[in-house]
Subunit: 410 residues, 2 copies
Amino acid sequence: MNETPKSLRLHIGIYGRRNVGKSSLLNALAGQQVSIVSDTPGTTTDPVEKTLELAPLGPVVFIDTAGIDDVGALGELRKERTLKALERTDVALLAVEPGQWGEYEDFFVGQLRERNIPFGVVFGKCDLAAPSAGQLCGLDKDGIRWMSVSAMTGKGMGQVREALAALAPEHWFAEPRLLGDLLPAGELAVLVVPIDLGAPKGRLILPQVQAIRDILDSDASCMVVKERELASALARLNKKTALVVCDSQIVLKAVADTPPDIPLTTFSILMARFKGDLAAFARGAAAIDQLQPGDAVLVSEACGHHPSADDIGRVKIPRWLRQYAGGDIRVDNLSGRDFPDDLSPYKLIIHCGACTFNRQSMLARLGRAHEQGIPMTNYGLAISHVQGVLRRVLEPFPAALTAFDAVSQA
Amino acid sequence: MNETPKSLRLHIGIYGRRNVGKSSLLNALAGQQVSIVSDTPGTTTDPVEKTLELAPLGPVVFIDTAGIDDVGALGELRKERTLKALERTDVALLAVEPGQWGEYEDFFVGQLRERNIPFGVVFGKCDLAAPSAGQLCGLDKDGIRWMSVSAMTGKGMGQVREALAALAPEHWFAEPRLLGDLLPAGELAVLVVPIDLGAPKGRLILPQVQAIRDILDSDASCMVVKERELASALARLNKKTALVVCDSQIVLKAVADTPPDIPLTTFSILMARFKGDLAAFARGAAAIDQLQPGDAVLVSEACGHHPSADDIGRVKIPRWLRQYAGGDIRVDNLSGRDFPDDLSPYKLIIHCGACTFNRQSMLARLGRAHEQGIPMTNYGLAISHVQGVLRRVLEPFPAALTAFDAVSQA
């Protein structure tokens, strides 16, 4: 629990045919490290994920996928999950046996290129048969980075680690900040954090912890209060606070208690910016105005949690949408990795804050929605919009506010 | 990661002979619940732990132990681990087959009574053979609570859940607070949180998160600052803060920057109070004064983390102890569940804050140290003491301060 959350780790996918040594490659990479932190046991179809610290990259997740040449009914399902894993892959390794390059590899390199995923090709089992220059030059011509390794002897593993560092996307080393960039060093933010009755004992939710940490990393500081204490907390400060951040569920109270000259935003807006594209989500929120009775909306959640009686995605948002549209709106709830390829039945997608997903996964979903012309927003932006205060909480982000206004006034 | 930490869950141990249906009992209890949260895969010898929400108790951990009648070399090891699991058990269930009560059960009831662990006896497999009144009356006489269940049919599981709630120690329902009791509603605490270079990305350590949450649960609020910002944070407040809590590693800076009329303590002191017995730990810290060159000290850590170059337990504390004693001190480092039965080689035990252990585990270790007359303290108290500021940070706890002074001035 004192580990880096999976969603903030570089996702490295290991792909290749069956029995080409994908798991051995992973184990050889991990084996040089003492700190394999946890294994998420896969089902028969889901890829296994392993989190570890990998020098010089830092915290990573390896996604150990099924063979892309898997066969049979279950094999087809595994193959589908393997392709789905591409959506969260920041960097890919394609494992190949010397002399084995063929249609599967061509297909896969095509997939990786189409998605702009940086990748390297690893010739495994080189203790058995080292690849000849002839086998490799076709790859070299295309500018593909290839490595020759033996998982058995450990040969070449240093090279793979260095290659991964070189392939990692730039944003990995200069990641977007959750909110630290909004706070000059020495400034103070006030975080308004409601505690639900059902909140797990002894915990804060991940976006709150991430926010506190990011503020400290910026040499700024913060005050953490429940919504009832916001007004008195602001009154305790003898210098104006630089920013108030509130949970979307109590945004009306926060707007009421925060003087208009203090910037105010929500954790959901910060997450939309951090995990995806805030301007796109602001346009998506404005699209709520266009919903008509009879329309369908997809409500998508990253973690398949146990729904509560007054669940946001299943109860509150559908109710608000229906009130707003003045008639029935069909709401489909999906959770986890389920996200349809065909989004055309929907007029709008409302996604959770995705604190358990990495940025790449959210960008993949946003990209699919964009291609199909379906607006997408997140829970918190939708809540702020139906309550009439989204402009107030978007003010700290002028580009997103402009994007919102463009759709809203259209 | 949004779950209740294991250390804050009620630990329910399931004991009994091999094949008596311990795992089936656990599965039947868990199966009625939808939310099995995670399985910690055991090694061949370690008990498996399952965390879940169990009405009406809330967050629990089930410890699924090996049979107490296990045989062979590995069996002996498993049996040893099973007995070790008693140390973290808040409530025990002893699974028995009807007609099978014998020496193992007598031995185990003796163990549970010796340790004052509340327990119930579960006659499993009652779909196969219901126990007769005669088989049970011996137990009834001793005031043991027994239940008759069938894991197969689910019969009696409601009774077991109710029994667990009735057996749970009082402190489970009125747990000691980490610090909420020190802060009246509406008050403000300042938390001083250094961020190590090596700190996991996007995270705060558990005691910090627990402190923030406990403050909010008390309708109080807090300011979270790094040590460099403490003075300016205090200057921003137009009303005196009720409490400053700092990380032990920067206690000297916090003492320097906190006006003497503001109560100041450390996260380590709060953890000592929450997980164990602060007065005992204060006496243990004072015992550092009695260390002589050539003495041995046990440094014990709850989690077997990867030691860093300037590790507290392996590098900093040994160095300080040697400086303090003016000569060589032998330091033995142990981590995880390793804690020797015989503590007599040691003049002192210094334990980590134990944020990953439950209170019961720490009380078991403190109890063993107490029985053998070995003083015990924790990292943070030791650090504050060798830096000469322990009295200042113990001031909010008069009984502990008195305990410290009694040994210190002896």
